[in-house]
């Protein structure tokens, strides 16, 4: 009974302190917003918006009010808009408390690879490197391994890095794991019905 995507989003949302500024990456991390009590945290979107609200009601979409994934969104009372230099000043300057990001690989020392596949099509960097190196805390939400069983939690990333030693916690369908300075993943919790041996086989670095 591994975590579902919804479970993973809920588990990641539980990492968000009340009264914090959070940037949610494209994809699964975006779902975290559904599990936050109203007014609990303030969502930052790197294209120039703080206080991002949910998707608009049908018929109220505004093409000039979007998130970093170019989806139409809303702005909550107390929100603010700003230019891209200001937005990344917020990120790089350490004013965003937490980034919850998708990942392709995370190393046991916290290196993050989430922007390019070796030999794959270059999708670009976008805000990934700034978010990973600038936000005060970085949590990765990802599948524990590929469909073919290849490790994604690894000893050393083989994919191009986004930033080195930045991920403090990894949330996968199998549980919650913290990279450590000595190169092991510390098991924080296992999903219901998941045993440690299964996780160990699917992880490319020692568990502690």
């Amino acid at each position: 009974m591994a975590y579902s995507k919804e479970d993973m989003a809920r588990r990641a949302a539980a990492e968000i302190p009340a009264g914090s500024i959070v940037n949610l990456g494209i994809g699964l991390p975006t779902l975290c917003a559904d599990y936050l009590p109203e007014g609990h945290a303030f969502l930052h979107s790197e294209n120039g918006l703080l206080g991002m609200g949910p998707f608009p009601f049908e018929g109220e979409e505004d093409p000039q009010l979007i998130n970093a994934g170019k989806q139409t969104v809303t702005v909550l009372p107390g929100g603010s808009t700003f230019d891209s230099a200001q937005s990344f000043a917020m990120i790089r300057g350490g004013h965003v408390d937490l980034a919850i990001l998708g990942a392709m690989q995370v190393s046991a020392r916290g290196d993050l690879a989430n922007w390019a596949v070796p030999g794959g099509k270059v999708m670009g960097i976008g805000g990934a490197m700034d978010l990973a190196s600038g936000c005060r805390r970085v949590i990765a939400v990802m599948q524990h391994a590929t469909k073919d069983g290849e490790h994604k939690l690894v000893a050393t990333c083989t994919y191009p890095l986004t930033a080195a030693r930045v991920v403090s916690r990894v949330i996968t369908e199998l549980g919650v794991f913290d990279p450590t300075a000595d190169g092991c993943f510390k098991v924080i919790e296992l999903a219901p019905g998941v045993d440690r041996d299964t996780v160990a086989k699917l992880t490319g670095a020692p568990l502690v």
Partner: protein, 240 residues
């Protein structure tokens, strides 16, 4: 001997683009298709220039916006942060028709801001330990590693604003602001496509997002397509 801050309003897109020539570096505002200066983008194609270096976060998408420049084969190089699903860019990058320089988005923004602010280079933590390091000076300052990044100026900036007065003071709307104000500071000539054109005095001094000091030409374009890139919504609950 006349400065560039009189009579900024032009009566046509063509007049507003006077002096934009083949081979130039052109910054174009917008985040994907959001906040595009649609008439100026068309105007550059109509002008018949080519071999442009385009600085833009995405260089268009879905065949729209700046993707029309790619299809018209008037771009030789793109400096951007994200290609994503922009197939027009992917195909030309693969064929070698266009050189693409990919930069972290925050570094792209800060390089423009630096160019506008007279800062030739600055240190940033973004990209340390990644491919972005290549060819750049790395330095440890107060115990942390940083890369030296250089200012990124342009010949022209083509941007759009919601409300513009005749001196070129600008107000933007929501996330259509994005790169536009900093591009305006980084270019030798800044051209603004104005949704609404008003007299000086109509915008309170404290309400100006970007001073007309950075703006050289204004053209009034009241109608825009404003295409959706990803139209997402939720159902309205009963009774709301």
């Amino acid at each position: 001997m006349t400065g560039r801050h009189h009579h900024k309003v032009r009566d046509s897109v063509a007049a507003a683009l006077d002096g934009l020539e083949s081979g130039m570096t052109v910054m174009v505002g917008g985040f994907g298709l959001c906040g595009n200066a649609e008439a100026l983008i068309r105007g550059v194609i109509d002008k018949g220039v080519k071999d442009l270096t385009l600085v833009s976060n995405n260089a268009g998408n879905l065949g729209k916006g700046l993707a029309t420049w790619l299809r018209a084969d008037i771009v030789k190089k793109v400096i951007c942060s994200y290609l994503g699903t922009n197939e027009d860019l992917h195909s030309r990058m693969a064929s070698g028709a266009i050189t693409v320089e990919v930069t972290p988005q925050g570094t792209l923004a800060e390089r423009m801001r630096a160019a506008g602010a007279g800062i030739p280079a600055f240190f940033t933590p973004t990209g340390v330990g990644t491919v972005v390091e290549q060819g750049k000076e790395k330095r440890t300052i107060d115990g942390r590693e940083y890369l030296l990044e250089k200012a990124l100026p342009a010949d022209f900036a083509l941007i759009r604003a919601r409300t513009v007065d005749t001196f070129g003071n600008l107000r933007f709307y929501r996330t259509a602001r994005n790169f536009s104000p900093i591009m305006a500071t980084a270019a030798r000539t800044t051209v603004v496509e104005a949704d609404r054109l008003v007299d000086v005095g109509a915008i309170d001094p404290d309400d100006v997002h970007l001073s007309g000091l950075y703006v050289h030409r204004v053209v009034h374009v009241p109608e825009h397509e404003d295409p959706f890139e990803y139209k997402t919504s939720r159902k309205r609950p009963e009774g709301k």
